[in-house]
Amino acid sequence: MKDAFGLPQSLLVLGGTSEIALATARRMIARRTRTVWLAGRPSPALEQSAAELRALGADVRTVAFDALDPESHEPALGKVFAEGDIDMVLLAFGILGDQAHDEREPLSAVRVAQTNYTGAVSATLVSASALQNQGHGSLVVLSSVAGERARRANFIYGSSKAGLDAFTQGLGDALHGTGVHVMVVRPGFVRSKMTAGLAEAPLATTPEAVATAIEVGLRRRSETVWVPGALRLVMSALRHAPRALFRRLPI
């Protein structure tokens, strides 16, 4: 069960090798979490992540999960929920893609969309219904500022996150009053393996900062969290910038 500060005792991560998710898990373990499930594509990296968290004192198990195989979501995640209540589900999988390349290769653009959007639609719906049966729990979804307004430079990824973000907000409203708390997290540029080698954007932040923001969001039962917080204002200005201007902005 979550405590008075919204801290979970059990955590299910979808995208078990995500650096943001692992930073969050470390933080939760330091505070309250004892049981962690890392769901992800089987790999040495996934087992390595589990071992690292185990060393912090948590009971950690891995489960095979592929965002691109929605048929498998129900049985794979069903198994996890059957073992006991999950206080928090963190949806962290996602791929950035390569915009220039993906514009030329529609099938790889579709892969970005299928991973980040349709894969997430199926995984969140499966998780949400299990949480609803429990009558409690937080569903935390890593969206992105990129979804707030599609940019020339990464609109394939951006549009997939826009879809995910809108979907999650709607789901949050649908679940209002069911005891399930849905929180959309919109980080800006986070230094992780997803962004390795890319030029840093202004207000760049760390996985640890995202973890801290998630902890605060849980305590406040927030519905939307920006990381860093200043992005809320920045994005609100950008959202209203005229198209002609926005197109030419160096972002």
């Binding site: 008075a4 429990q134 009558g135 409690h136 005891g179």
Partner: protein, 451 residues
């Protein structure tokens, strides 16, 4: 039986979860509710005055026992009452005072049920003399997981598991309680100030035995040497001859007239309570108290339940809710108490007056909270940054000193800390495993702490 799916919290309004709320009106309905409660089980609930998650059950059933509220029999000579568990202490006072009887133990609010009083084995300002509520329970009827109703007598394992058992052994349906005789509905109260924590402890240790009721309100926001300055209020039921001839009080000495103010508004601005406003309140309150005054006549409600005057006062903490931290450490652990007070004070928790009291002998309930020593209780807004970590360190201090945290107030303890605090936990768990193998009775508290 109608069941509403509702969001449920404790008095502190943290960690809401959703459950089916079922309100049995007869014992048969209660039996049916327990038998049919489904895989996520059920938990009895009284008036929801436990601060944390004791009377909630995510995804399962919550049995609202306030629909079973009959008073069955009052023995006016022997001073006992038999009633349903859903009867409130407020109602008992209304009915019993005119007959010259008072409840044996009352908490800081009258808005608790007899079931909740037994389930949490509550204590009052008279703990050092009268022990906890269960000491005055002669017998009770318990609806257990198999759907049977059992009469549970004192000095049996099931009695000791149920008193303080937080509703996890079954639903208490009725209880027979021994009462306290009184001549009037007024209290004769002595008030004095203590300039700091040591002064306070010295006064309590020296003269508590002279009073049936005793409690101290402590200012933890006062800085430096004044940390722990306090106002002690101690007293007893006023005898008839303490009331002046010819007054209204003397003509109707057993009248029960609780004072009542308008309720706190449902929506209050966030941040109303901060260090400054609270420190200011505490300061005023300390200055207002007389340095020393004896034999003042007060209403029962003023002495015992000052907060009941403002219905829904828990709303002043806003949306984030609040946490109450109450612990006890044994006699001889004064150093631990001082250290904890210092830590709280250093953290500058915007906490209204904390309550300090000396407990007397413990009662046998396996998860009953009181043990002989010092208990401190304080309310803190849940939004205070760093609060969770602070309380975790206090838990360690409390456990290391052989003390414990009160489950009826708890909303954040870790399961690891619990076993050290409650040495009879294993016995409690095995009794439950035997009595309730399918785990029919379960609450969010039980899930969080693996009770």
């Amino acid at each position: 039986m109608p069941a509403d799916t509702v969001s449920v919290t404790g008095w502190g309004r943290t960690a809401p979860t959703v459950a089916r709320l079922i309100r049995p009106r007869t014992y048969e309905e209660a039996v049916a509710a327990v038998r049919g409660c489904g895989v996520r089980g059920g938990i009895p609930r009284g008036l929801g005055r436990a601060y944390g998650d004791a009377a909630q059950n995510a995804g399962g059933a919550v049995f609202d026992m306030t629909g079973l509220d009959r008073i069955h029999a009052i023995d006016v000579d022997g001073g006992t009452v038999s009633c349903d568990a859903g009867v409130s202490l407020h109602r008992l006072m209304r009915v019993l005072l005119p007959l010259g009887w008072f409840v044996p133990v009352t908490p800081g609010t009258r808005q608790v049920t007899v079931g909740g009083a037994i389930g949490a084995d509550i204590h009052g300002k008279n703990h050092h003399v009268s022990g906890s509520f269960s000491r005055h329970v002669l017998s009770l009827e318990l609806l257990t997981a198999d759907g049977e109703i059992r009469t549970v007598r004192r000095d049996t394992p099931l009695f000791d598991a149920t008193t303080g058992g937080m509703g996890l052994t079954g639903v208490i349906l009725t209880a027979t309680v021994q009462l306290q005789p009184v001549q009037t509905s007024l209290m004769s109260v002595d008030t004095e100030r203590a300039r700091d924590l040591d002064d306070l402890m010295a006064r309590l240790a020296a003269t508590d035995d002279h009073y049936r009721y005793s409690v101290a309100w402590v200012d933890l926001l006062a800085r430096g040497a004044a940390t722990g300055r306090a106002v002690l209020t101690r007293g007893d039921h006023a005898p008839l001859d303490a009331l002046r001839e010819g007054t209204r009080a003397r003509r109707d000495p057993l009248a029960f007239r609780p004072s009542r103010l308008p309720p706190a508004p449902a929506h209050l601005p966030e941040g109303l309570l901060n260090r400054r406003t609270v420190a200011c309140f505490n300061e005023l309150w300390y200055r207002r108290a007389p340095r020393a005054r004896t034999g003042e006549l007060q209403k029962l409600s003023t002495f015992f339940h000052p907060l009941d005057g403002v219905p829904h006062w828990n709303r002043i903490y806003g949306r984030g809710g609040f946490v109450q931290y109450q612990f006890v450490v044994g006699h001889g652990q004064e150093e631990t108490l001082r250290r904890i007070v210092r830590r709280i004070s250093e953290h500058r928790c915007p906490s209204f007056l904390a309550v300090l009291k000396r407990f007397g002998d413990a009662d046998p309930g396996w998860l009953s909270f009181p043990l002989p020593g010092w208990t401190l209780a304080l309310d803190i807004p849940a939004a205070l940054p760093g609060l969770g970590a602070l309380l975790d360190t206090l838990d360690e201090d409390v456990a290391a000193a052989g003390g414990r945290v009160y489950l009826a107030k708890d909303s954040r303890l870790r399961p690891e800390s619990l076993a050290a605090m409650y040495p009879r936990l294993d016995a409690f768990r095995s009794l439950r495993a035997e009595l309730d193998p399918r785990g029919v009775f379960v609450s969010d508290l039980a899930r969080r702490l693996a009770l």
